[in-house]
Symmetry: D2
């Protein structure tokens, strides 16, 4: 497939748009999403990330860690007999050990970022000007639908490339249909925080075409782009970079899947409320599904 045949939203909402597929979520979509809440059960879709000690004062506590770590922590010295205890966190947002939201500038294509802004204009050493995670800092609320590709707590075979027909089948199993602006949550039953040379399942370009056709607003997954990497990477280089579709990388979806299965209901209110820190390439996020 040549580049010009790839699905794209460049230009769809203007040449300086920063919202991408978040344009598909309006007040009506949020109001509709809230109707999904019935019994008040809330589930986090984030991994529980344990920080690595950054300094820890004296050395003896040295312990094995994988570095770079997703989050490093310092407990701060606040004086003797401190009246308060504080700590500081160093966050490597895009680490595979931390659930996070990707902003469009995270993934340039051909030297430009969605929807066609030159990368050199978008990013400087002191932060991101265009296409940053500022697009999310008002929060995202919409209806979410879980497509569980490995039901009953199973996991996809290692070399799986998920196609459009797999998504159709999973959607049919839910007994619901999609509205423009819904978020899709895809469970493969995988922990992708693995060494790079290990194969992991992921989505095909075909599957990203499916997300586009259904006017999906946000992608949330415990799987994402397959390894070995495809060219172009369907989620990062097409969905994020060309469709302007925010990606939640490295979700933990087992709790969600069992909550859905218990209720035989695969739709819910999805809330994404990353910290309101400006000018970043992405932000840690704790997606909540509410039933």
């Amino acid at each position: 497939m040549s580049t010009e045949d790839l699905p794209t939203n460049w230009g769809r909402w203007g040449d300086h748009d920063q919202l991408g597929t978040l344009n598909l979520i309006d007040d009506a979509a949020r109001a509709r999403a809230a109707l999904e809440v019935r019994d008040g059960v809330s589930v986090s879709l984030a991994r529980a990330t344990r920080p690595t000690a950054l300094t820890a004062g004296l050395s003896p506590v040295a312990t094995p860690a994988r570095m770079p770590a997703p989050v490093l922590q310092m407990v701060n010295f606040n004086g003797f007999d401190p009246h308060a205890i504080t700590d500081s966190l160093l966050i490597n947002t895009h680490n595979a050990g931390l659930t996070h939201l990707d902003a469009v500038t995270h993934q340039p294509v051909d030297g430009s970022v969605y929807p066609g802004v030159p990368l050199r204009e978008a990013v400087t050493p002191t932060g991101v000007g265009h296409g940053s995670a500022d697009a999310f800092t008002g929060g995202i609320l919409t209806r979410g639908v879980l497509l569980d590709l490995a039901p009953d707590g199973d996991s996809l075979p290692q070399e799986t490339l998920v196609g459009a027909e797999d998504l159709d089948a999973a959607l049919e199993r839910t007994g619901t249909s999609l509205h423009p602006g819904d978020a899709i949550v895809i469970r493969g039953g995988w922990d992708i925080d693995q060494p790079l040379d290990q194969a992991v399942p992921g989505l095909s370009l075909d599957a990203v075409g499916w997300l586009h056709e259904h006017d999906v607003s946000v992608y949330v997954g415990d799987i994402g782009d397959a390894r070995p990497l495809l060219t172009p990477m369907p989620l990062h280089k097409v969905a994020l970079a060309r469709l302007g579709m925010p990606l939640v990388d490295v979700a933990q979806l087992d709790g969600l899947a069992s909550t859905c299965a218990d209720r035989q209901r695969w739709s819910f209110l999805l809330v994404l409320a990353p910290p309101r820190i400006l000018g970043t390439t992405g932000l840690p996020v704790n997606p909540l599904a509410v039933f």
Copy 2:
């Protein structure tokens, strides 16, 4: 008032409880909260925090900043012609320039943390064991009610000490009543990120008693403890430390106040979804109010 007369929840939910007043939020409270959503309008209650460049490579870009800063940012070197752009954030959670959630261990009293665990057992150089922000990492959803103490975009006089009767009057203006487990959002119209020697308004001990009597679950405010500091600090040393009531410090509530005034409705769905990072004294948060 002697220490034994201060309001307390120590022991109310057991001697090792970590949830504090979040125990007051159950499925029914969350379901009831979702019913507040009608027109799908969502408002962030967080300050927009612009990071300070931590390294920024070469020195010439040196610019004035207040240090320690709430958030420091590095844009990372990912090789030449990088296929991805990333950045890292160093977050000083309890900084007055960042909207954040306080965990109970942030504020020891008499060498113990809620509900009576010795501080030395709760905190080590490598993180918080008891009373950390883990209590919030599943997310908090409940009904929120705005008490706007300075309506029409006004701000409280500098030396104000907010009392129970002020909260009663503000609640009466809303025309609604409180349920156990509701969150209270208090607007004084102030930016408290000020030099320490500047007076700022805050809540009296009496007002914290009011929060206790109404079984409030969470406090969100653009004001908090007054300066000069009271002894004990009503919110940090009584509400947080003795009631186990999580505090959202340094909210930005002007948008919320005008949204409420437009609708003449002061209740809403409140969602708090801080990053799921374990063992901290608090976490940055982006509270969302949904109408």
Copy 3:
């Protein structure tokens, strides 16, 4: 002057050399340098750099700072009643507020680093492979000679461009001559930690030719490249990048100048002993002159 006419040492010591003009210092040069020590007086040529608090626990201590700062400091929490006190430092080596040694890879020219290694081979996100400060980590000892261009505690006029004849005149004032491998210490009486748009004096290309002709091993200066910047920058893009001559940026030379003037002696033992940290683009250094 076209690029091919610029002075160069590329190839002089082979195609993979990492020492550059440090090749000019041998045991005999070090032994000769030690003979400069007579009365045992030692002078530091480094600025005294006060760190900025990186976290400092609570926010109230916020103070104005220029960021990025040369050095950030955390005092660490080592538990209650700590048996030891420790701190950690974040060092932005090339900051204009910190005396430091530049390694050749700090300054690529035309995509290559001294003596012609492609930049992309020399540097990766995890450190410097070729042309790093490892060249200095065994320490540098040699004879140093101060050329004080603004005697009697004076300072150069702001727009001065120092030429070869200025160096000749200053050397003549010292009454000594240079040996191959000597280090040159140049005092202009300036603090160059200034906003970028302020003019500062510096060396001309002609002066760098003079350093080359005298087979100088190391450059130490309180002035360096002039601002507004020349093209190419004589010290960074010719002396460092083409001659492979390590530069000590941002020295503080007033104490040295008065020590020399008191003795009417402008030569001394110079010792550079930066921390032995591998794979960097430069290192902080505290040059000592011993008389």
Copy 4:
């Protein structure tokens, strides 16, 4: 031995002294030290410390590391086609993987630091006021003498406690004698960057008494305090804290030992020139021995 019987220099040079045993080094000592230089050979006594990548942009490069690490490194993003390459270092000074100098405030005894200043006055969250490494930032030059306790590249038995008689014997083997103000370099042939529960050899209290009687100015060792720890720790709690004798922890002395053996000469010029960063509990250092 009761506390009052421990050797001490508290009060010897006044109640606010910050130099400790560095008072023993005067111009004459430095001039005498320089006479040790004959053939111009220079040897570093520092470990070569490879930094751990702090951020490294994308996560895939994650590699095993022991954390906290002695030094963390970021290669900085300086824009596209950067005209310069820079990096930043986070240094955990007192880590057992990094050669460093201890300042007296690093080790309080009974709530005070040398020579009797209350710890609470000496240290705040924003740095060290009294007893910091500022004492070293002018550089230290003196005569050094190597006492090789495990000649011929050997290493001490694991449980060795080095006593005064061992130092006497080693000194006798050198055929030289000590002058007040000399530095002692002690080689045990050990790498003490080991898990805390592994025994390592170290000095007895008796040996520290020997250092005191000989008016040693600085201690440099590849061994230091034994593990399991003695009470009080002879080097850290007596030599450093009571004698005010700076300690170089975690030296690498194999190169020095073979250089000495080759020459059958165990004395040399020792130079310590840590970065001139103010207000710290210690600093990384690259000790040089010159012959």
